[in-house]
Symmetry: C2
Subunit: 219 residues, 2 copies
DNA sequence: CGAAAAATTTAGATATAACTAAAAATATAT
DNA sequence: ATATATTTTTAGTTATATCTAAATTTTTCG
C-alpha cells in the first residue's frame, strides 16, 4: 500500500480539489500540508509515477480515479476513527482530529470494516462530514457555507470544513455548536466579515471563519 | 517522543531481557526483530545516546530504568489494543497481533487511558499476558513454560510467549486453547520434544513450542 | 596458548521524505 | 511587450533506518 506521507498528500489534494473544482496548485498543497513547495513537487512526481495523480509541470495536479478512491479510503478511516473516539471513548469533538490523523494510517481492511460495524455504520462524523462507505460512496449532504449566504438568510449549523482543534475550540468559545440555527444579519462590505445571530446571541465572524461553517436548509 | 523503530527495539529488548535475565546480545535482537546485526548496532548506539539502554561494545545491552518504563508503555498500548480488538471488534486471538503492532505507536496518553477505561481496566490480554497499568505495574502472573516441567506434572494453559498469528493458528489446529488442562506425559531425550495430554487428546510438541506455552497451578 | 569460528562493529550505500537556495517558468502590471 | 513579481522546479543536503561487505573483537576448542 501507500506510505503515510503519500496518504496524507492524497487526502490534502482530495480536500482541496473538492473545494476548488479545478487543478490544485503546488503552493496551495504546501500551505495546507505545512511543507515547502519543493517537497510537494517531489511528492507529486512520485504520486504521478504511481498513477495516483495527473501532473504536468507548472500546471498543478488533479487526482486520477485510483487517486480519488485511495483518498476516500483514507478519509473513510479518518472519519470512522473520529466517530469511535467521540462515541465510544467520550472525547470532545475538538480533541479527535490529531489522534485520527494517526489512526487513519493503520493498515487493515478488516479492521476498518469491523470498526464500521461496531459503530453501527455511521453516516456522518462528529464534525458533520459524511463518512464514505467501503465503495467510497457518501450520503449527499447538501450544505451551504455561511460566506455564500445572503443577508437575512438562515439555516442549521451542521458541519465544519476545518476540524482542527484550534478552530473547534474557537467555536466552543463563541458558543457555536452543531444543530444551532444561525441567521445572517449583516455583511461588512469593507472586510467581508459576517454579523450572525443564534437563538441565544449575536456575534461577528471573519470571512475566513464564515467559509468554514456549513449550514443546512438555508432559506 | 520516540520513533516507531525505537519503540519496537525497546519492546524487543524488554521481552528478551525478561526471558533471559542477563544482557541481551546484538544477534538475538536482530533475529527477533527480523533485521541484520549491523542495523541493531546502529540503533543500540542511538538508544544509548538517549539513555534508554546501557550499551558497551561487544558486551550486549540492557534497558535503563527510563528504557524499561518506555518499553512498558508500548507493551501496555499493544496489549490494550489487542484486548479492544478481541473484546469489542470480535477479532480472533490469532488475528490481532499485526494490527496491534501498528496501533501501539499512536501517540496520545489520553487515548490510552480512555481506552483502558472503556475496556474496564483489563488485567490480561487475549493471549494471557498481563497488561501494565499507567505506572508500568502488572498483576503477578506466576506461570511455568511447558519446557520447564517434569514428566507427570500438569497445569492450566493460561498464556503464550509468542503471539504471532502463525503460532496461534498452529495451536488452533492442534486444538489447544487457553483454559485447557495440560499434562506432560513424556519427554523425548533425543530432541527434547514433549508428549502432552489434554482432557480430549494427546499430542507431541517440539521443544520450541513447549517453550512458548505458559501454564498455571503446575503440580 | 593460539588458530579457527562466531559475533559484533565499522564503513559505505540505499530509500524515503523532508529542507534551502538557485534556476526556470508563468503571471502580472505598467 | 517587456520588466517585475510570483510560482514552481531543480540541484544539492540532511536525517532516519535500513542494508552488504569488510574489519575487528570475542569465544571456542584442539
Amino acid at each position: 500500500m501507500y506510505s503515510q506521507a503519500e496518504e496524507n498528500y492524497l487526502k490534502t489534494i482530495y480536500n482541496l480539489e473538492s473545494r476548488q473544482g479545478s487543478e490544485v496548485s503546488t503552493n496551495l498543497i504546501a500551505s495546507k500540508a505545512n511543507t515547502k513547495a519543493s517537497s510537494v513537487t517531489d511528492m507529486l512526481k512520485k504520486l504521478a509515477a504511481k498513477n495516483l495523480v495527473q501532473y504536468k509541470k507548472y500546471q498543478g495536479v488533479h487526482l486520477t480515479e485510483l487517486g480519488r478512491k485511495s483518498a476516500l479510503k483514507v478519509i473513510r478511516k479518518h472519519r470512522l476513527w473520529e466517530s469511535f473516539l467521540v462515541q465510544k471513548l467520550n472525547f470532545k469533538w475538538d480533541e479527535v482530529h490529531d489522534i485520527a490523523e494517526q489512526l487513519e494510517h493503520v493498515k487493515s481492511e478488516v479492521l476498518i470494516e469491523k470498526l464500521d460495524a461496531f459503530l453501527k455504520y455511521p453516516k456522518l462524523d462528529p464534525h458533520g462530514d459524511p463518512i464514505p462507505d467501503a465503495h467510497g460512496r457518501t450520503i449527499l449532504n447538501k450544505t451551504v457555507v455561511i460566506s455564500a449566504m445572503k443577508i437575512g438568510s438562515a439555516g442549521v449549523f451542521v458541519g465544519v470544513r476545518d476540524s482542527s482543534s484550534e478552530f473547534l475550540q474557537y467555536l466552543n468559545k463563541k458558543n457555536l455548536a452543531l444543530g444551532d440555527r444561525i441567521k445572517v444579519i449583516d455583511i461588512e462590505p469593507f472586510d467581508g466579515s459576517f454579523h450572525i445571530e443564534t437563538r441565544t446571541h449575536r456575534l461577528v465572524i471573519t470571512k475566513s471563519v464564515a467559509e468554514n461553517l456549513c449550514l443546512k436548509n438555508v432559506k
